[in-house]
Amino acid sequence: MAALAEAALAAADPMVPRIVRVRKRTRDLPGHATLELVPADGAPLPRYRPGQFTMLYAFGVGEIPVSISGDASDGSRLVQTVRSVGAVSEAVTQLKVGDVLGLRGPFGSAWPTEELAGQDVVVVAGGLGLAPLRPSIYHLLANRDRFGKVVVLYGTRGPEEILYRRQLETWRKRLDLQIEVTVDHAGVGWRGNVGVVTRLIPRVSVDVANATALVCGPEVMMRFTAAGLHDLGLPESSIWVSLERNMKCAIGLCGHCQFSGLFACKDGAVVRYDRVRRLMGMREI
């Protein structure tokens, strides 16, 4: 009863975390973990849209923003992929099945999946940037007949750092999806593409007047990718990117993630590229 009351409080106040439990943990890559989270307070999980993030709170350590990487149509669990880059993310990746943690959100804007009906869609991911794009890929594939061509381009550092590798291999077998994977460097045993992800863009054949691109990865990679897509003929207004900044409160109050006139947590993380292209090139921001 008390737990339900706390869940109600959390629902009413976005600064109050809910308690969730780790139901499953997958080690995708060294230093990474994908967690399946279920409620520990009796209340249902919040619904979310592809591209949104949550704040995960490792008790006694701290709180970090983490992209949701699961299927938004599955309301029974929340799937999130974390890479260990600091003390909090290290603590989150070390959580075991049955451990509890705090959860706030979901927060932020989403990929414009509902607006893509009838269009060709190009998804470009770099490194861990595949995680926040995966919910949109689930959506595109679950509603495949509503879209034109669907192309997924994925780049990462090396063959040993390919995220969701088995899933990519499964998707690759589909005839209604063009999927290309490349790595920056590889040993001689690698039989796939080598080169940065932008080198894959000229292979994309879409109706550029009726296509949208969803791009997520390191900011420099997104800029190069957007330039490549623009060279292909896509207007900048048809390119969406996901910004990563120092999200703290996640509701646009604290200002830590301020990006000129935008708050990455509230106005983003997903934004249309033409709104931020100039800002992304400014070294002061």
Partner: protein, 153 residues
Amino acid sequence: MEGLERILAEHRLFAGLGQPFVELAAGCAKNTVFRPDEYLFHADDPADWIYLVRHGRVALELATPGRGAVQFETVGEGEIVGLTWLLPPYRWGYDARATELTRAIALDARCLRDKCEADHDLGYELLKRFLPVLVARLQATRLQMLDVYGRAR
């Protein structure tokens, strides 16, 4: 020869090039096939051929002490292997190995250089087509050098 002219004319490198120029370039061309793991050339060999890949994949590699060979780029269908033929000393700076069955049009670089010297209009047209490839690879190399994918702790 007629077949090679048609293939060259359809290749994006030669798109829009006048028929007389295509005929000149086709005079330096031949069909080639490389089996998986067969080398097109090795580092420091004379850069005497340019390869327009029609089908397959070619890995560009550099040998590094203690790590063996490292692939730094692959070139696939519709792309070009070999830009070094353009400038002296006309020597390859890396190895090129077919990673799968690869079919390509090979252009004799000496033949093409001689024709470009004799006909500067042809030379300029070809330069306009090779330079964007060079710039695109330079841009890609810059991104590659930045090593943007942060490593986990």
